[in-house]
Amino acid sequence: MSRGATTDPNIESFRVLPASPSGQADTASHFLHTSPEFAMKRLLCAGAGDIYQVCSVFRSGEAGVSHNPEFQMLEWYRLGMTTLQLMGDIEGLLADCISALQVEFPEYSFDHTGFFRIRYYDLLHELTGFSRNSLSTDAIRQFLQERGIDCPLDGSESLDTWLDFLMSLVVMPQLPSRRFTFVYDYPATQASLANIYESADGPVADRFELFFGQTELANGFFELTDGIEQEQRFISDINIRKRQNQASVPYDRHLIEALKSGLPECSGVAIGVDRLHQVFSGRSSLVDVLNFPVGRA
């Protein structure tokens, strides 16, 4: 639980209230974490070094074939590593998981075509033809219309929302099945808690996502260490929330304080453990690997 919530307008926290209001002390509401990131970064600022955690995390309103409001997350941080090095770390872990499964279950086999890395804008170009400079909401709208793809967006949304639509409903479904694909160097406007750096063709977020086939497994950052910029991003999120009539949430002031005291340069990644279980057991739905999905919780 935390007094601060995630400010990300696309992620909704659960607010925790006592069943019956008892003492005075707990009248302020707390939130269930949507990832252990804020608390772990406070530990990193306190000098914890390389750390990992496996825990339940909670996201309101996310339920479906690949989503459950409560799920298991494995998150770890490596001091001094770049995101490209961290991707290697993940490849090693996944390869170890596969061999361990084979040792435990001799008849177990897991077919995959290996690991592949591609930059966000290159993937978009390959599968839609859009170059970074040709992207606009009008151009995306026209692209979808020409292909008869139904789209609920009306033009009032940000370019990022249009990109989310394009990636989720056009690009990702075309990713080769049975391949681990790292997508990296995201648009700078989708940096979240990642550092932004100047690449050869403009600023990008030093962030990556990992997919197996079309299933998203992990999200990683080269972490933003600037507490002032992080605070500005939180406030900007809160303003977007206001404009979209979403719940107003307090940001994590402890995290900002910790970042201002100094976060060592590091990369971090969060992997959905249930999704990994789903992939390794060859199931088509997350619900197949959960003992008690939300409908039966």
Partner: protein, 188 residues
């Protein structure tokens, strides 16, 4: 006006789209870990039967379609309309060809049917899964031939044509699965 949020979406939910009532056939929640969530659905137009893909921004609301399924007794057809009665209120209503569609060949007087109403008007008729109908015309039966597995066409009292085993005789009552249009058994 009633409406549904996308987080209430599930198979069978009735919603209004482009002025027509639709039912949700499939609903999939699509969301990147960080980014906008969408509900990708397949919906069936209840007037035309056409199934199309439709994507919604998660959190958006859609107008609910006032569509209800009621059990009603089929009374008779006057050639233009098919008349049904609510067995508890004795209220009657008439459904035209557009609503009855292909179901007309399974409608037997007194049988209970499912009548789907949209704003109180009949939208579609679903006959019972199994009906018992009398054969009005078929080739003479091959008595005792229960082994060869051959079939022949038989005309029913309602106008339906059903493939029946060779041993079935004209005038017999048979049970039919209306979902497949197939013969099930003889009715003794």
């Amino acid at each position: 006006m009633a409406s549904y949020s996308t987080n209430e979406f599930k198979g069978g939910l009735k919603i209004m789209l482009d002025g027509d009532p639709h039912t949700i056939v499939e609903n999939e929640f699509v969301k990147p870990g960080k980014g906008q969530a969408f509900n990708r659905t397949r919906v069936r137009n209840l007037k035309t039967g056409r199934v199309v893909e439709k994507t919604f921004k998660s959190g958006d609301s859609v107008e609910a379609a006032d569509v209800v399924d009621t059990d009603m007794q089929y009374l008779y057809s006057d050639g233009e309309f098919w008349h049904f009665m609510d067995p508890s209120s004795y209220e009657q209503l008439a459904a035209g060809k557009a609503a009855v569609g292909e179901a007309d060949v399974w409608l037997k007087e007194q049988d209970m049917c499912e009548v789907t109403l949209w704003n109180g008007e009949p939208l579609s008729i679903t006959p019972p899964n199994f009906v018992e109908l009398k054969i009005t015309e078929t080739d003479p039966g091959l008595r005792g031939d229960t082994a060869t597995g051959g079939t022949k066409p038989a005309h029913m009292e309602t106008g339906a044509v059903v493939k029946v085993p060779l041993f079935i005789e004209e005038g017999e009552l048979i049970k039919i699965d209306t979902r497949t249009g197939e013969y099930v058994s003889r009715v003794k």
